[in-house]
């Protein structure tokens, strides 16, 4: 009586379950293939010199040196851009949720942020470049940071917005019942409760910032030196990958893969450590 029978709905379930598994395997397979490629091609070229030296003369022809200029350049660019974006994003996200909510204005702001998110980064690069021409600013770390922060801002705000929206109403009301202003609730309670999610949003934006080549090509330029001021041009890892893979020399191409590997490792380290940090900050979060 309770025996399993193969009805249509069971077949549908098995089929859909199979489809889900296939989708997962395709995606996991792609990721695996990418990682495998950069590991196999890049690992042999990943020497100590690669991460501790700047390019020597003839580096792009296969002579000695490393990509320290691009590593530091990328960290400066993405770090600065993320910091700048964060300074503006958190207030915007809190304002959106605290004062605009689901009002018409709130919807307009969210819509425009979504549109900004979708704009290709090369458009940001060109936009930044035109502004730079207008004000007479040359390709520099500063220009790169500003443009990256513009790219990261919509991502960060919308990711934070989605997180802050999940703030439990009870918690908000508990703080209001004590006579808090809305601002006090936002800053002292919501931010604290939602900190793990906010960190994830920042990380998401950082990942996009450090991996972007198109925008920094126009605005930060490229140089073999490590910048010592905001007004100097700077190298970046995505462009280092691009330039090295673009040469006809296998040795240099291999270093391109090694650079990609370094970029991946940086993202991985930041991802893991931020997870660790948010897990520890998580202590007081109300589940």
């Amino acid at each position: 009586m309770m025996k399993k029978r193969w009805q249509r709905r069971h077949i549908v379930e098995a089929f859909v379950k199979g489809l889900m598994l296939v989708s997962f395997l395709v995606v996991a397979g792609c990721l695996g293939a990418i990682l495998w490629t950069i590991l196999v091609q890049g690992l042999p070229a990943l020497t100590w010199a690669m991460v501790t030296q700047v390019p020597q003369g003839g580096f792009y022809l296969g002579k000695g040196g490393g990509v320290l200029n691009a590593i530091l350049g990328s960290l400066y660019l993405a770090g600065g851009g993320t910091l700048l974006a964060l300074i503006f994003s958190l207030p915007i996200a809190l304002y959106l949720e605290t004062y605009l909510g689901d009002s018409d204005w709130g919807r307009y702001v969210r819509l425009s942020l979504d549109v900004l998110w979708g704009i290709p980064t090369i458009v940001y690069g060109v936009f930044g470049f035109i502004i730079m021409l207008a004000i007479g600013l040359r390709a520099s770390l500063l220009a790169g940071i500003v443009v990256l922060s513009l790219i990261e801002l919509p991502i960060m705000v919308r990711a934070m917005d989605e997180v802050i929206r999940r703030m439990p109403v009870d918690l908000e009301q508990a703080a209001l019942a004590l006579g808090s202003t809305k601002l006090e609730v936002a800053v002292r309670v919501t931010t604290r409760q939602m900190l793990p999610g906010i960190i994830t949003a920042v990380l998401l934006a950082f990942g996009r910032g450090i991996g972007d080549a198109a925008s920094v090509l126009f605005t930060a330029g490229y140089t073999d030196r490590i910048p010592t001021s905001l007004m100097q041009p700077t190298a970046s890892l995505p462009l280092a990958v691009f330039f090295q893979l673009g040469t006809p020399y296998p040795v240099v191409q291999q270093r391109g893969y090694a650079s990609a590997l370094i970029l991946t490792i940086i993202v991985l380290i930041i991802s893991i450590s931020s997870r660790w940090i948010s897990a520890n900050l998580n202590k007081y979060t109300v589940k």
């Binding site: 009301q173 508990a174 019942a177 004590l178 006579g179 002292r188 202590k283 109300v286």
Partner: protein, 251 residues
């Protein structure tokens, strides 16, 4: 009777639906007033009008006056944060803030800048945790997350947190309904101890709890106040047929 809260011609609406109809009541000072009635009668709505919480819900409208010490809390020049400081709320479910036990109690005092230095904040935290009957249980773990407490302990923490901003009035929205019987009894006892210094207004749907706590009773039905008066009169000699029916358990 010394009146603390006077509600005059109060009407409240959720959208087009009227939740309170011409409510006129007087809530006595330093006594426990219990608002009771079947679910949906507007008792929680009435409570929410007393600390201006109704306006947190979208599309609500209110007319009439709520006077605390003869001052209308809905007057345009009134600071809503001051209203909520004076009229504390103990919610149905304890809702500890995402902080340590200590920070939960100190939070309200800090936003209202009630003390000058750390030492007096510390002293105040201890004082209110003692009043809430929680000090002995938490004195050695003040910096643990508030969520590590049991539900009953959390509710007493919320009481301590509410008392710490020195309200005159404490509202309770079925404050024991989410608790186990022993914790509920504990919280009830705290409320009885507190009425010496505070005006307490409780919403409950359990008649037995109403009888245990009430000095003064308001009985509501379909958004209207049917009967209000001293507890012994309403319980022993209800004037209205509806109240009598409710007390006899016909709901």
């Amino acid at each position: 009777m010394d009146t603390h809260i006077r509600v005059r011609n109060l009407n409240a609406f959720y959208g087009k639906q009227q939740a309170l109809k011409d409510v006129n009541i007087e809530i006595p000072k330093k006594q426990v007033t219990v608002i009771m009635g079947p679910s949906g009668c507007g008792k929680s709505t009435l409570l929410k009008t007393l600390n201006r919480f109704l306006e947190l819900t979208d599309d609500t409208r209110i007319s009439g006056e709520v006077l605390v010490d003869e001052q209308d809390i809905y007057a345009p020049d009134v600071d809503v944060t001051e209203v909520r400081k004076r009229v504390g709320l103990l919610a149905q479910r304890p809702s500890p803030l995402p902080m340590s036990i200590y920070e939960n109690v100190v939070y309200g005092m800090q936003i209202h800048q009630m003390h000058k230095d750390r030492a007096s904040y510390k002293k105040a935290v201890r004082h209110y945790l003692e009043i809430a009957g929680l000090w002995d249980e938490v004195s050695k773990r003040l910096h643990d997350p508030a969520t590590s407490l049991s539900i009953g302990q959390q509710q007493r923490l919320c009481l301590a947190r509410g008392l710490a901003v020195e309200p005159e009035i404490i509202l309770g929205d079925e404050p024991t309904s989410a608790l186990d019987p022993i914790s509920a009894q504990n919280v009830e006892q705290r409320l009885l101890d507190l009425k010496e210094h505070y005006t307490i207004v409780i919403v409950t749907h359990t008649l037995r709890q109403a009888k245990r706590l009430a000095d003064y009773v308001i009985y509501m039905y379909l958004g209207e106040v049917v009967e209000a008066g001293p507890a012994h009169e309403v319980f022993n000699n209800p004037q209205h047929q509806r109240t009598r029916a409710y007390l006899e358990g016909q709901f």
